[in-house]
Point group: C2
Amino acid sequence: MTVAIVGIGLIGGSFALALKDKGIAKKVIGVEANEEHKRKALSLQLVDEVKELDEAVKESDLVFLAVPVDAVQKLLPAVLDKVDKQVVMDAGSTKEGIIEAIKEHPKRGRFVGTHPMWGTEYSGPEAAVRGAFEGKATVICNKEESDKDAVETVETIYRKLGMRFVYMNAQAHDVHVAYVSHISHITSFALANTVLEKEREEDAIFELASGGFESTVRLAKSNPLTWASIFMQNKENVLDVLNEHISQLRKFKACLEKENYEYLEELMVNANKIKRIIK
Amino acid sequence: MTVAIVGIGLIGGSFALALKDKGIAKKVIGVEANEEHKRKALSLQLVDEVKELDEAVKESDLVFLAVPVDAVQKLLPAVLDKVDKQVVMDAGSTKEGIIEAIKEHPKRGRFVGTHPMWGTEYSGPEAAVRGAFEGKATVICNKEESDKDAVETVETIYRKLGMRFVYMNAQAHDVHVAYVSHISHITSFALANTVLEKEREEDAIFELASGGFESTVRLAKSNPLTWASIFMQNKENVLDVLNEHISQLRKFKACLEKENYEYLEELMVNANKIKRIIK
C-alpha cells in the first residue's frame, strides 16, 4: 500500500521506517511543513518523496497523522473532507479532543484514533528509530465509531509491527495517560528547572549526577511544542494528577519539617508497591 | 589486604565483589546484623566469612562502613575507638553529620569520608553487582582531616575500581547531592504514591506505562530505611530543594489553570537546558 505520513518527526519517522522494514508499505509519502525536516526526512530515506497534503492524501491508501495533538485536531476534519476510501489514523497522546472534533463528520468512519505507547525524549526526523514499536502496547479508541475495514487495516499494521492492543474510549484513555505519561513529563521538566535554578556549579552536577538523576530528568529533554500541545489538550486530567502529586510531595515535606520519620518511611513503603506494577 | 565490610547490602556487597575481582583484598570479612543477609552474603560468596565487629576490625587493614547513614554516624566513633593503624572509610550518601560526629576523635585521621556515586533501586546482598563502580565518580570529603596514608589507601582502591575523584568539603557535598540525587528519589517516591493513590485500575497502568513512566518512577522501588536515614541526615538541604521543586511544579500548574501556553512552553524550553549537563 501507499501511506502518507503527515509530520515526519520522532513518531512519523519511526512509523515510516517500520512500514518499510515490515514490507507493509510499498511507498511512503511524507507531508512536512518544516523545510529542514523535509530535507532530513528525504536524506535519511525515511520517506520516498515529499508532497503537499492534498496530493499525498489522494495517492494514498492510508494517512497517518503524526503532528502535535492540537494540530491533529485542527487538521483531521480537513483531511477527512478529502478522503474517499482511504483510512486515516493518528498517533496522538490525547484522544478526546481529536475524536470530538470529527464526531459528526460524514467520513468519521474512515478515521481510527490510536496511541502507540512508545516515544523517546528526542524529536525530529533524526530521532526516528528502527523497530520502535515492537513489543509495545497501542491504544485504539472508540473503535465502534470507525468503519470495520478501517479498524482491520489499522490492526493488521500494528500487529505486523509487533504491538499488542488495548481498547478504550477516548475519555478513559486521556485519564490513564495523564497518570502513566503526562505527569512523568511534568515532574521531569520541573525537576530539571529546580536543579538549573538552584545549582549554579554545573560541573558539580555533571560530576556527581549518576543513574538515578539521569533517569528522573531524562524526559526534560522532550520537545516543548509537542508537550505544550498535549498538556493543553489534556488540561483537566493533567491538573487533577498534578494537584495530587503536589499534595504527595507536601507529605514528604511535612514529614521532614516535623521530623516524623516513621510516617516518612511509611510513605516510601507505600511507594514500593509500584514494584507490583513496574518490574 | 584484609577488609572488613560492615553492612553487606547493595553497596557493601558490590564493594566486596569489586575488591576480590580487582585483586585488592585477599580476604573479605563481613559484619552483618541481619541474619538473613548474613546467610545470603555467605551463600552468594560476597564475603569469605562473617564475624562480630570487634574481631573483624582487629583482623582487618581496612574497615568499610556500608550501613544506613544514621547508623554510620552512630557506629563510627565506636569503630575508631577500636582502631590502631587500620583505615576506616564509609560510602554514605551524606557526609556532614558523619564527619561532625568524629571531629574531635583522637583517631579522626584514620577515617576517610567518601561517597561513591553509584547505586540502584534494589537492596540487600542479592542486589550486589559486579563491576558496579567502574567509570563512576567518587567524592572524598574533608581530605585534609585524614591521615595522608589513609587517603592514599582509599584513593588507590577507588582508582583500581576505575573511579574518578571529586574532592569537596562535607557541607558542599550534602548540598550538591540534595540536588542531583536526593530530590530525584523524593519525586520518584511521590510520583509512585500519586499513581497508586489515584489510579485503581492497575491493569491499565501496566498496559500503558512505557519507558518514560518507568524511568521516572524507578527510584520509588528504593529501600525506605536507607532513604529515611539519608533524608533525616540531609534534612535542611533536602527541604530547600523540595520547596524549590514544589514551586516549579506550581508554575506548571498556574500555566495550565490560566491557559498560559506561551509561558508553559517557555518553562519546558528552559528545562531542555539540562541537555547541556546530561547527555
